[in-house]
């Protein structure tokens, strides 16, 4: 009996702490509140709502309307609008830094304790990749014969994942915020390799305390693995390696849920809007926390 209680307690703890649990929770709906509408908010007949506009009630209704449960699917067709947030990187398993990594990580430290004053997002720098893996307001895969397009609502941007057999460039002429990406199928898993990233972006903000960001160099490589395990579920995994920053690869696993009732809307980071917000809400904190 005692053994059973001990095992149950330990199982509950491991479930609460498992990265998959956290990642999954982030991509699913928002807690229900009294003012949330029951029906989708759309621009009009024939138009759809957006991933992030959808609350739990609407998502549950949409899953019934579109017969998501048990719906037939082709595991090699990843088409659809997925998630409303991105899959947070597993900050409980950040690899140990190299001395240079430690130095670069410290250099991202905010000047104020309340938000990261050095985060390029505040001035609408592109998020870059893999930050868009971790934070995107929903994304859409479009399958083409020679590539897979991945559109992101955040930044209203896309990346080309080439599937025509080309190799990643060894020494690209331009480092890109979203890098260079090539994809291939290993069984039912779509494997995406990325390289050639612009080192001005962060891998992600450090969500443990939001006073630093995870830096990378131009040596960073990413490998993503996507597997559609049902019509409505996409398993996703990313492995980030940067031997100049980390002493071992950084792996994050998660799940993303289909948004059958949604299409991507527009989220541009607009400098004039951000400037207004920063002055009226961020700068106030900046002034009073010096």
């Amino acid at each position: 009996m005692r053994n059973r209680i001990v095992v149950s307690i330990l199982a509950l703890i491991s479930l609460a702490l498992s990265p998959a649990t956290v990642a999954q929770d982030r991509t699913f709906g928002r807690p229900t509140t009294a003012t949330q509408p029951d029906k989708d908010v759309t621009p009009g007949p024939g138009w759809k709502t957006c991933p992030r506009c959808t609350n739990n009630k609407q998502l549950a209704a949409a899953n019934k309307t579109y017969n998501v449960e048990g719906h037939p699917f082709d595991p090699h067709d990843l088409s659809g609008v997925w998630g409303n947030n991105g899959i947070e990187l597993d900050v409980k398993n950040v690899p140990p830094f190299t001395p240079l990594g430690e130095q670069m990580f410290e250099a991202t430290r905010s000047e104020i304790p309340t938000t990261n004053s050095k985060d390029g997002m505040l001035i609408c720098d592109p998020l870059g990749y893999p930050r868009l893996f971790a934070y995107n307001y929903g994304f859409q895969f479009v399958m083409l014969p020679d590539r897979v397009l991945q559109f992101f609502e955040w930044g209203h941007t896309w990346r080309d994942i080439w599937t025509d057999g080309r190799k990643l460039p060894d020494d690209p002429p331009q480092q890109r915020w979203l890098g260079y990406a090539v994809g291939r199928w290993e069984g039912d898993t779509f494997v995406v390799e990325g390289y050639g990233y612009d080192d001005r972006s962060w891998i992600s903000e450090d969500r443990r305390n939001r006073i630093r960001g995870f830096p990378h160099t131009d040596q960073m490589r990413t490998v993503e693995r996507y597997r559609r395990t049902s019509y409505g579920t996409l398993e996703a995994e990313i492995t980030i390696t940067d031997p100049k920053i980390f002493t071992r690869p950084w792996i994050t696993k998660g799940k993303v849920e289909l948004r059958p009732n949604a299409e991507l809307w527009e989220y541009f980071c607009v400098p004039s809007e951000s400037d207004d917000y920063n002055k009226r809400l961020i700068d106030a904190a900046r002034q009073s926390n010096k």
Binding site: V22, N85, Y137, Y277
Partner: protein, 137 residues
């Protein structure tokens, strides 16, 4: 004895886990500078910004001596607020509102994180009662 040890381990694990998990729910713009004490004010809408990165409202509150204080309160991104039932027409300049919010921890500051807005006719404009997830994006 083993049970006691397991219980102690569970408590220890939760002590470690809770702050970690709490950190996970924060938005890209941190809200850690807002306190956890609720404040209720009545006032008049001066501005309603249906914009990203976060929707915000500015309202004027008059005290007993006739002195007016201008508050600015933020919510979440525009599409997140659509999910919670707000629209571009939810508020207009001159509306009388009652606001339940979490003011900044800084003494004398007039910035706040909004929990609930009710109009004078009793209409609840938004009820972000998703505490403790209130600080999610």
């Amino acid at each position: 004895m083993r049970l006691r040890r397991a219980f102690a381990m569970a408590v220890l694990a939760l002590v470690v886990a809770i702050p970690t998990l709490r950190g996970v729910v924060f938005a890209h713009h941190s809200r850690s500078h807002y306190g956890t004490e609720e404040s209720t004010t009545k006032g008049v809408v001066l501005e309603y910004k249906w914009r990203n990165p976060h929707v915000f409202v500015v309202w004027a509150v008059k005290d007993q001596n006739g002195k007016t204080t201008q508050w600015v309160g933020e919510m979440a991104s525009l599409t997140s607020m659509i999910a919670d039932g707000m629209t571009k027409d939810s508020l207009k300049t001159g509306d009388e509102i009652t606001v339940v919010a979490f003011p900044s921890k800084n003494p004398g500051s007039t910035e706040a994180l909004i929990k609930k807005i009710t109009k004078a006719d009793g209409t609840v404009v938004v009820d972000n009662s998703r505490v403790p997830n209130l600080r999610a994006p």
